[in-house]
Amino acid sequence: MLGWEFPPAITGGLGVHCFELVSSLGELGIKIDLYLPLQKSAPVSPHPNVKIIQVGGGVNVGAYGHASGGFASDNYSRDLIGAIEDFARLSLSALKASGTRYDLVHCHDWLTISAGIMAQRALGIPLVLTMHSTEYDRNPVPWSWISGIESLGVKTADRTIAVSGKMKGMLVEKFHADDGRIRVVYNGIDIAKYRRKDSGIRKEKLVLFLGRLTHQKGPEQFLRAAEKVHQYDRNARFLVVGEGGLLPRLISLSIELGIADRVSFWGFVPENEKRSIYSMCDVYVMPSVSEPFGISALEAMASGTPCIISKNSGVSEIARNCLLVDFWDIDEMASQILALLRYPAMSRVMSAHEMKDAARLGWQETARKTIGVYNEVLGK
């Protein structure tokens, strides 16, 4: 398997996905060599069946946030492109040098597509590509160099795994991908890591936004809905957790809207702290403009925090017990937040059902379906 980010260096869903996927695949008896760019903080293998091989001394790994944070194409650094090409070249040498006879190669997103295709050709083995997001999701002005790689990837891969039906639709629409070779496999969640919602009595009600502060995640809509909620519920506090390029704009917006004293910007928080934040909040809102999956919604569900989720997200396909909203419908979003704050009976019912749903969406299930895709390409 070819990966890019990996714990402890995580900035998005890709790192979490790779970690949980290889852990569960390992548990199910699949032997994996995971090739990663050399990272400052050394990754640790989650299972004896998983061997981590770091390649390319001196490669500067740009994590996802840096690759996609900006709006304009020229925000991409020459370093990242260089790093991607270096990783493809170096991982191929390492693959060959390992002397291992691999059954297939599995890569993730555009960052590792070049490396995946090179391995497929050089070793003559099938390629499985998982698409977590596309350039069209990340950028209002997609960079054609990246979308070109993505298009080549879905056309070259023997099977493409899409993280949602929405993602599958995107691949077919934007890249004219052959939908007969695309399989939908949803992300999972390890509920054991999440704390149940604590029902401690607080004076304030807490409404949470958690995600990168980019246009794609919709933090502006969150603040605009917050302003409407605040008009009718003076007891609500709004937490904005995450970092990103939009922070200065969001701070100004909260002042413009007259809710600066009701919004708390918490910046980046580590994993364990994130889990307590979910469990202490009364409402979680994911107002994403475009979200191929949206793993943080699953995390909130696992914590039993009532969720309001953008209809334009992959996770909305399986979040049966969450409220769904159009990302642009600020009035509806505000009304839903107000209802959750006002009607505890609904919060209780949603919370209980969301946790049950999350319990069904384990990573083992993701791994089992992924093995199904492996078996397809291997003709088993």
Partner: protein
């Protein structure tokens, strides 16, 4: 000799408008509660759609069948008051078609709560009595029939409810023929009810009812396609006095569309049954006059809904209980104000508004979804509870 007692439930909920807390807080609500809460356009549209697919063609066919069989084909209806009001508003032709059926004297009409409500569970019993009386009077004045058999909302039945129906003068009551009430006995007999003196209970034979109501168009069902002859054959093999085949009237043309062959099935059913010398058709009031075979004991309420056949379709989760309790608590103020407020309160009691909030999963959840115009139960709850809160503030913040 077994008699076939067919009864069709006719109800059409009054669907609610979307009311958000922002609309309410910003004072954008119409002044009349009925205009503010009920979606007249949507209700009219649905009513006319169902009228064209089900009510009108089925009634026409039933009338023809009664005439063809010189009165040997007979059956019963139960029409909710909420349905009758929609007939007045959107479908005088539909009401007229029921009137023509009533005029044959071969069609019985049952009593029920006018508003299709769960008022049988209010602590103050007077609201239930008032709704049953309203319905009784509506059937009498609109259709010229005086009901004698009572059918509580969604066939909800218990010893206590039967006793109240008896006290109101009814000779029979409808119940779901579930195993734990029957206790190994057949549903195909008339029974007395524990704690009551005279009232008889008619137990629905849910297997034979659901063969038509649910399974008829299911191609994965081993009996598909079901013909009138095959079904009549099953009925003729039944033991007992009566086979109670009860279903939603929308079975014909709406739950099963015309192209499934449901109308052809109905067209042939009377003749296919009457071809068996041991079968005839009887109305509910006739069956309820027969001698009972034993006594049914239902200390806890049963219903005809979902797998559980209990109250969980309407009162199964906290959201449903919260809405029900709020509604019940507004009764004193609504009655004191009377007029349009009392009417709005009663219309809002329709059990459908609670049914949409059900969060049971698996196959029953799908059934709830089929009947609901909300994306999910939470959206339904927010809307219903918002309306209840708005109504509460109109009553002067009880």
């Amino acid at each position: 000799m077994a008699s076939i007692c067919m009864y069709f439930q006719v109800h059409q909920p009054l669907r609610l408008r979307k009311v958000s807390l922002l609309n309410m807080y910003s004072g954008q609500m119409p002044s009349s509660p009925k205009d503010a809460y009920f979606n007249r356009e949507l209700n009219e549209q649905i009513f006319r759609k169902v009228a064209a697919k089900c009510y009108l063609p089925t009634n026409e066919l039933l009338l023809k069948l009664i005439e063809e069989h010189n009165g040997d084909f007979r059956f019963s209806f139960s029409l909710t008051g909420v349905f009758l009001e929609q007939c007045e508003m959107f479908g005088k032709d539909v009401l007229e078609s029921f009137r023509r059926l009533a005029d044959t004297g071969r069609v019985d009409f049952l009593a029920e709560t006018y508003y299709h409500s769960l008022s049988s569970f209010y602590r103050d019993g007077s609201e239930f009595d008032a709704q049953v009386a309203m319905h009784h009077e509506a059937i009498r004045s609109l259709l010229g029939v005086t009901p004698s058999v009572f059918r509580n909302t969604e066939s909800i039945f218990s010893n206590e409810i039967a006793a109240r129906a008896e006290k109101l003068g009814y000779s029979g009551i409808i119940a779901e023929g579930i195993e734990h009430t029957l206790g190994g006995r057949s549903p195909n007999y008339v029974y007395n009810v524990q704690g009551c003196e005279k009232i008889k209970v008619l137990m629905r034979n849910y297997n034979l009812s659901d063969d038509i109501g649910y399974r008829f168009s299911s191609r994965s069902w081993k009996e598909w396609p079901l013909t009138a002859e095959k079904y009549a054959g099953w009925l003729s093999k039944c033991d007992g006095q009566c086979v109670n085949v009860f279903m939603d009237f929308e079975t014909f043309g709406e739950h099963h569309w015309s192209d499934t062959g449901i109308f052809s099935f109905l067209r042939h059913l009377p003749a296919a049954c009457l071809a068996h010398p041991n079968l005839n058709f009887r109305m509910a009031r006739e069956v309820a006059s027969w001698d009972a075979r034993g006594t049914m004991d239902a200390p806890y309420p049963t219903s005809w809904a979902d797998m559980e056949r209990d109250l969980s379709a309407w009162l199964g989760n906290d959201m449903q209980h919260a809405c029900f309790q709020e509604m019940e608590s507004l009764g004193v103020a609504a009655r004191r104000q009377g007029g349009e407020h009392l009417e709005a309160w009663r219309l809002l009691q329709s059990s459908d508004h609670l049914y949409y909030l059900c969060t049971k999963s698996l196959s029953d959840g799908d059934v709830h979804k089929y009947f609901s115009h909300y994306a999910n139960p939470y959206e339904g709850f927010i809307n219903y509870m918002n309306i209840i809160q708005d109504f509460k503030s109109r009553l002067g913040g009880v």
